[in-house]
């Protein structure tokens, strides 16, 4: 598990100006800390696609936002992400909580090696959003990093560097609840 305090410190180090979010249980602690800290404003949105359009506008206006959403919301964003941050080549870091990751790991299934099909996507013991997360990022050409625990915290800075280098969105997948 990664401590929310360490994530917040990384965001401050990167000079992040806004956090656009639809909350979930995994990001709850981080959002509570952000709200209490008050250094970086939180912009709550009604749907995840909005987060990417607003973040793109913030970047055009000279700010440095991040998007904090769950992987279910990532799937919702589809055309919004494609037509804003990707199409406009915005160096945007997206923190994505990875619902279903633990079950996926326990199953031994690799979404890199196995073709997805209806029977896999409807299995009771798996969360289909976990099966679709990394293939979707790959399809959208979004590089990603993993944040499993405190020792991975530098992956956030790596994501900011990669986003700047490639001039495009980059994801950080948060695989466990923040504490």
């Amino acid at each position: 598990m990664a401590q929310a305090r360490l994530i917040l410190d990384e965001l401050k180090k990167a000079k992040v100006t806004h956090v656009l979010t639809v909350p979930d249980n995994s990001s709850r602690t981080l959002l509570e800390l952000l709200a209490a800290d008050r250094t970086i404003p939180i912009v709550p949105v009604t749907r995840e696609g909005e987060a990417f359009a607003i973040a793109t506008g913030l970047w055009v206006g000279g700010k440095k936002p991040v998007v904090l959403i769950q992987n279910t919301g990532l799937l919702e964003t589809g055309d919004a992400l494609r037509g804003t941050a990707i199409r406009m080549r915005v160096p945007l870091v997206c923190l994505i909580t990875y619902r279903g990751y633990a079950k996926l790991q326990a199953s031994g299934i690799s979404t890199k090696a196995e073709a997805l099909n209806a029977s896999l996507l409807s299995r009771l013991d798996l969360d289909s959003v976990a099966l679709l997360t990394e293939p979707t990022l790959k399809a959208w050409s979004i590089p990603h990093y993993f944040l499993h625990e405190d020792g991975d915290i530098a992956q956030i800075s790596a994501a900011f560097r990669k986003a700047q280098e490639l001039e495009q969105p980059v994801a950080v997948l948060i695989t466990r609840d923040t504490t």
Binding site: V45, T46, I54, G57, L58, G61, K63, R82, G83, T84
Partner: protein
């Protein structure tokens, strides 16, 4: 109902240094009145996401007014954005909703609820402090100075006749100045213009 000319011409006349974001059926018509460096076409982009994109710019540039010329079909795709705008605390965003009742660029198919949706009523309910609806060109023109002054966010529904704009694209020979380069280049040009100008 009034024409796009009756909507856009007075607005272009009163516009000073505001950022103007256009989409769908007003992208090309606006370019007939304006070649300003702070014009941006949300074209070849994400359907329905001009208003939230404009909100991002408004949050980033609080000392400068942002005008979004949205369509009714586009607004219907992201109605939640009205709530996000009102909740954001932004004061410098003016959201026009051009209500012609159709998806103009795809052949004027009717939008859902085209004859009864009250966008300004929705905006008021969402928390916009000011909202207007016009179906008369003279009343609109008389109110425009007031609309452009004071704190927002403001929602202005203008009931216009359906037009005949075709599909939007970006290419070097496009008559509309801001459709001649890629969306990514266009975004960088606007960013460059805003950062160069600072808070003037």
């Amino acid at each position: 109902m009034f024409t796009k000319h009756q909507f856009l011409e007075p607005l272009a006349r009163l516009r000073t240094d505001q950022i103007v974001i256009t989409t769908m059926g007003v992208v090309r018509p606006w370019a007939r009145y304006s070649e300003h460096a702070l014009d941006f076409a949300s074209a070849d982009s994400a359907m329905g996401h001009a208003a939230d994109f404009a909100l991002g710019i408004a949050l980033a540039q609080p000392s400068r007014q942002v005008i979004c010329l949205n369509g009714d079909g586009s607004m219907l795709m992201t109605l939640g954005t009205l709530v996000t705008i009102a909740s954001s605390g932004v004061k410098n965003l003016i959201l026009f909703v051009v209500q012609n009742g159709t998806y103009e660029v795809t052949g004027n198919q009717l939008t859902p609820g085209s004859d009864r949706v009250d966008f300004s009523g929705l905006a008021k309910s969402a928390g916009f402090p000011r909202a207007y609806t016009f179906d008369d060109a003279q009343a609109y023109e008389c109110s425009l100075e007031e609309i452009l002054s004071g704190d927002g966010p403001v929602c202005v529904t203008v009931k216009t006749e359906p037009g005949s704009e075709g599909p939007l694209g970006r290419r070097p020979d496009e008559p509309a100045h801001y459709l001649r380069c890629s969306l990514a280049d266009s975004a960088r040009q606007l960013r460059g213009a805003l950062l160069d100008r600072g808070a003037d």
